[in-house]
Every structure is written in C-alpha cells, then in structure tokens.
Amino acid sequence: MIIEKSSEWAEGLTKRLENMESWDNWTFYNMSYIIAQNNLITEFTGLQSPKYLTNLKPLEHQLKVAETVIERMNGKAILADEVGLGKTIEAGLILKEYLVRGLVKKALILAPASLINQWVEELHYKFYIPAVAYKKNTPLEHCEVVVLSMDTAKKSPHRELIFAQDYDMIIIDEAHKLKNHKTKIYEFVQSLKKKFCLLLTATPVQNDVFELFNLISLLKPGHLGNYEAFQSAFSASKHDLEHDDYLKELVNQVMVRNRRQDTGIEWTNRQVNIIPIQFTDEEKEVYEMILDLKNISPVFSGAFSMITLQKEMCSSKEATFLTLNKMRQNCTNLEENNYVENVMQKLMALEINSKAEKAYEIVSQAKDKVIIFTEYKASQAYLQWYLHTKGITSVLFNGKFNKNKRDYMKHLFKEHAQVLIATESGGEGINLQFCHHVINYDLPWNPMKLEQRIGRVHRLGQEHDVHIYNLAIDNTIEIDILQLLYKKIDVFEKVVGDLDDILSAFKQTI
C-alpha cells in the first residue's frame, strides 16, 4: 500500500533547533490541534457535512440518497427522484461530503444554461461551496467547482480547456439529454474522466429502454453489458421487455429514485382529468380535408409533416396556417395549390376554436391561477388574445427567456395575471408552487414531458391539491397520442418503477 509522508516538518524543526527561525505561539499551537480534532473524519461511513450546513434542512429522503450513493454506489449514480423532490440538494450533499472528506478537489457541473445561476446560488448559499459560473475567460485551473452548459462545454475551445483539467467529480443535470449515444454531447461526456459522477434526471427513460442503457453506459460502461448483449437480452421489440426483474435489479444498483409517496412527506393529491372535446362540424371538416391532403399532393405524403399538421389543427388555426402556408409553396401543380388554398380559406373562416373555449371554461371555473401548456408559439399568442377578449389577463413564458425575464414573468403571473401560457421549452427550471391548476392544452408525445410540466407546480411547498386537465379532441390524433403515452409509461414502470398519475385512470378504458 502507498504511504505518503512529507519531510517538511522535520526540516522546519531542524531550523528551529539551530535557531534559524523562531518558535511559534502556544495559543495557536493549541488552536491548531483543536481545529484538527474538530475537523477529523473519524468514520468511513456516515455523512459529516450536514451538521455544518446551517442554511439547509435536508429532508430524510435526501440524506438517505446521499448516503446510499456514497456508501453503496461508491459515488457513481443516477439520481432519478421525481420532479420536485430536490435532486439538486442531493447532489449538493454528495459533493459537499466528498469535498469535506478531501476526496474531491475539483468538480465540473453541466446544467442547462437557464439553470446555471440557480446552481451557483444554491451551492453558495446552501452548501458554502464557492462555485463559479463559467464565462469566456474563466481560469478553470483556479476554479474548484465550475458550472457551465452542455452546449458550451462540447464546443471548442471550451472543450479542450475542460479536458486539460483533472476533475474528480462530474455532475450532469437534466441528464436525459444524453439519451442518444450518437450525439456530440454524449461523446463529450463519454470522454470525460468520471471518478465520481452523478447524472440527474427525473426521466431516465423517455421513449425506450436503450436510453437507459446509454445513460448507464456513460456512468459505468459494461454494467448492463455491451450493446450487442443488451440488445439480444432485453429487446425483442423496443416496447416489450423480458427479464424485467433482472434488469430492474441491475438498474437499481446504479440508480436511486424516490417517489412522492416514499418521502414520508404529506403531499397534496393530483387530480388528473381527461377532458374530451368535440370539434364543431366546421372544424371537423377542415381536419378531414387536412387528412386528405396526402392523397392530393406528394408534398403532404411525409408522415411527419402530416402528423404535425394534425396536431396543429387540434391546437389552433393560427398554428396550422403557418405550416400549411409554408408547405403550399412547395406545391408545383396549380390544382394542388388551389386545393390547399381552399383548405386554408376554410381554415381561416373558422370562428370557433372548441379547445380554446374549453380552456376558457376551465379557467373561469377555477377562479384561480392557471398554467396552460401548449406546444406551439402561434397557439400561445392566440390563446393570450382569446383570453384577453374574455377579460382574462395572462402572461407568456418560454424557455428562451433569460433569468431576469423569467423572474419578472413569474412575478407578473404571481401578482397580476390569472393565467400563464407556456410553451414546452418553458417547462424546465421554473417553480410555481403558488398555482395548482395545469391545463395541458396540447399533449406531447413524451410522458416525461408531461411529468416535467406538472412538476412545476406539484413540488415541495404546494399546499393544495393539484388539478391537471389533459385536453384531447375526440376522433383525432390526440387520442392516439394518449394511447402511446400509456404505452411509454408502461416501459418506464417496468424498468424504473411506478409513475405518479399523469394521465389519470383513462388507462383502464383503453
């Protein structure tokens, strides 16, 4: 075994004995001894750091996660608590513990750009960790703990600067962005040395089990075997999992996940309602005409563009119009062009948006703050205008807003407006516990996105039951989306564990 020892003290002693330097002061000598004694880490196990964190009252489940990761998982883990249970706190506790124990000297944190300041603030305020937000000329060699975005990190010259450092710990927030092993960022993280490593995500599986394979292979290559072995063992088809229990067991060795009900905290309930909506005859006619487009022109034969159009038609004529108009310009044939124009005329002649009316109905019945999530910016703008004509105040929100604007919008929503209308990308990194009504105006393909949305309000600090309204128009693609969402939730539950209600009991009926 390697024993490190320095001869510095012996040299210092010799100098004093030869009267080349003076002796020190007894008070400091004694203080120094007491400090060393106080700071001594007397046990291999157990957390040393929480008792010193006066600005933080960690919850039971957070402490347990930190202990499990350090003692059982040896500091390499996926932290996959449900949204709102404090994954950042858990990561902070683990980082702090390793810093206190001297096992980590330098740490790198990758987070979405919008969350960088939040990380820096929390580390400073709650953990007394002097983290630095990376800027162009930040001298990495002098920063113990640095936070930057994945987008910045993977690019030159930052990439090379990072590789030149020797990090003991890597923390990656919103790690589901690494689900695809063919991306540049995946390759970047793969080539980082990971002595200790935490991947934070509430949604380790979004679409299929290979995403989990990719994540775990970053953390501990080989834990789930190599790609070929994994593929032959676990996937006949992507959605059909054999050896579930075995896989679950392996996954649990590197992943911790708390659900709300495991935390021992009294959570308010989620009331999930599926609100079926009927198109008016006119809307239905336009929807059918759009479906027919693929028979009219090859421009519309692509499955993807058709799906987009159908989804948009379920959202608003404004959203549909933009796409339709763009695609019309690709039509070369006059006949085709005329048909599309006819559709567009009918579309713009529509006077009623049944879904928007339903949304308004919910908002006015709630008589309270409501968040509406939509997938389309055009629908977002339309909804604001529409609600305005009904005398309802609203603010808009999206992920491109910088921190100040986010905070300001949040403030406006809290103090002045009844409704906040957010696009998908606005889902992450904003906490709105003062609100407890969420309308999913459009449904995303991915159940985890729904969970992220709901997590904005159903988190620690929420005092009321949370009402969720999933709007779906009958006899349209939205019913298919609902079914697919259930299928995906099924995959998730098989390998990760139960998900909270995000879609309501609709499940039994399909």
């Binding site: 075994m1 390697i2 024993i3 490190e4 020892k5 320095s6 003290w9 012996a10 210092g12 002693l13 010799t14 004093r16 004995l17 330097e21 002796w23 020190d24 002061n25 007894w26 008070t27 400091f28 000598y29 004694n30 203080m31 120094s32 001894y33 400090i35 060393a36 004694q37 106080n38 700071n39 001594l40 880490i41 007397t42 291999f44 750091s49 010193y52 006066t54 600005n55 040896n74 500091g75 702090k96 810093l99 124990r101 001297g102 096992l103 953990f127 007394y128 960790i129 003991d168 080539s191 040395k193 002595k195 200790f196 292979s217 501990k220 290559p221 080989g222 834990h223 075997g225 190599n226």
Partner: protein, 259 residues
C-alpha cells in the same frame, strides 16, 4: 464546528493577533486588522507594495464576519463565515502556520532551588486512509529524549501541566541524549506500527470493488481489438476512485522541558 465554536475561534484568533474589535457580539464580529494581519489574509499585495514604495499612510482593512445569520437583526454587511467557508479555511491555514513548532517549559515553584527539566519531543500526527472513502485518526505522541520512553495522549498530558514559553529561573535543562530528529524518527516508527496493526479490511474491500468494476469495464469493451481512449480513461478513473492510500501528516509539535 458549529457557529458558536466558529465565533469563539475567531475571537481568540484576532485577539491573539492584536487586532481590535469594533463590534463583538455572539453572532458577528467587526475587527480592525493590523498591518501584518491585513497582509496575511486580505490578499492585496499591490496595495501594500504601493503604500510601501510611496511611503503612504497604511490603512489596514476592517473586516466584518458573520457567524450566525439567523440571529442577525442588525442591518450589517459582512462576510458569512461557517465551517467550510473559504475565509475560515484560510484562517485555519494561518493558524496552522502560526502554531507548527513550539518550545515550552514546565513552570516550577520558586521553592525548589535548582529544578531539573527533562527534554521531550511531542508530535501530533494525523493519519488518513483514502480509497473511495476516507477515515482519519489523530495520534499525539511524546518521546523522552533522555531515555527514549514513549507516551501516548501527549497533548492531553500537556494541557494538565503549567507550561510556558519562558524557562523558569534557575532551571537546569538536561541536555538530550537522543537528538530530536532521531526522536522524531522513533515516533514516526510508532505511527507506522499503529498503521500496520490496524484493521485494513477497508482497503481489501476497495480492492474488491475495484476488481468488480474492472470486470464490468472489460466486459463492455470485450472483443474490441483496438480499445478506444475512453477505455483507458475509465481505467484511470477506477484506479483513482478505489486505490488505497495512506497519508501521514504532522499537525504540529515541538520541544517540551518537563519535570
């Protein structure tokens, strides 16, 4: 260390360094630094260079340190200092540097006309075990430089004695038979012996985990003729994560002339 201990420590530290208190409460302190202390902890060498070359009037800084924010009612601006904060670590470092080597004499009553004092070398050790976990132990040892007797818990023994940096009048100091440096070697030997006798299942376990994780890693790259860079990277990471190391540090120590 808890906030009140930190507060206590800061008071002693600045008091001993002849810094004056402007505010002195149980949850924050404002202290007027001396020139020497400013140079030591304020990290502004250019300022001092400027003052010294221009012959200007030095104006050392005032520092407000808050140890318990929760008790703060006053509208005070200052640095928050807690266990783990950079400022406190800096002061710990300073304290360490100011109390590394000591020479002390046991004070004897005047009635004894020619008290004889025996030289001891006392050393406080910190031994750290590192793998993917840590554990630290302190040993305080003293060796009698006349006869080579070694005692443990030396620092505790000292704190029960009346010792001071000044030699008592008329005292006769026995010249040492064992040179202090040889004494240090003997104490080092004792510490190494402690380490040898200790239970090292922690290292065995770390080794086992290391081997397990290596097997997993090998499996991932099995069949690849040319292994990518990431393989070597992971291997290094595993070594750094699990390799068992032991570090012996000396906190402080010195010569003690005791009855």
């Amino acid at each position: 260390m808890y906030p009140q201990q930190v507060q206590q420590y800061l008071r002693t530290f600045f008091l001993e360094n002849n810094c004056q208190f402007i505010n002195d409460t149980d949850h924050y302190l404002t202290v007027q630094l001396t020139v020497d202390m400013d140079k030591r902890i304020m990290n502004r060498p250019y300022y001092w260079q400027y003052v010294e070359t221009t012959g200007g009037v030095p104006s050392p800084a005032q520092l407000t340190l808050i140890t318990d924010q929760t008790k703060l009612k006053e509208n005070i601006k200052g640095e928050l200092v807690h266990f783990g904060s950079p400022r406190l670590n800096q002061l710990f470092q300073a304290t360490h540097k100011m109390g590394e080597f000591i020479q002390m004499f046991e004070q004897v009553e005047e009635t004894i006309n020619r008290p004889i004092l025996t030289p001891w070398l006392g050393v406080n050790y910190k031994v750290s075990y590192y793998s993917n976990q840590t554990k630290e132990t302190m040993y305080s040892l003293g060796v009698n430089l006349m006869n080579g007797n070694i005692i443990t818990g030396f620092h505790t023994t000292l704190s029960e004695l009346n010792i001071a940096p000044k030699m008592p009048p008329n005292a006769f100091l026995l010249p040492y038979v064992i040179k202090p440096i040889r004494g240090l070697e003997r104490l080092d030997g004792v510490v190494e012996n402690y380490i040898q006798q200790d239970d090292h299942s922690w290292a065995d376990q770390a080794k086992k985990r290391w081997q397990q994780d290596m097997r997993v890693l090998e499996f991932f790259y099995e069949g690849m003729e040319e292994r990518p860079e990431s393989y070597e990277m992971e291997k290094t990471a595993l070594q750094q994560q699990y390799e068992a190391r032991i570090k012996i540090e000396i906190i402080n120590g010195g010569l003690f002339y005791l009855k």
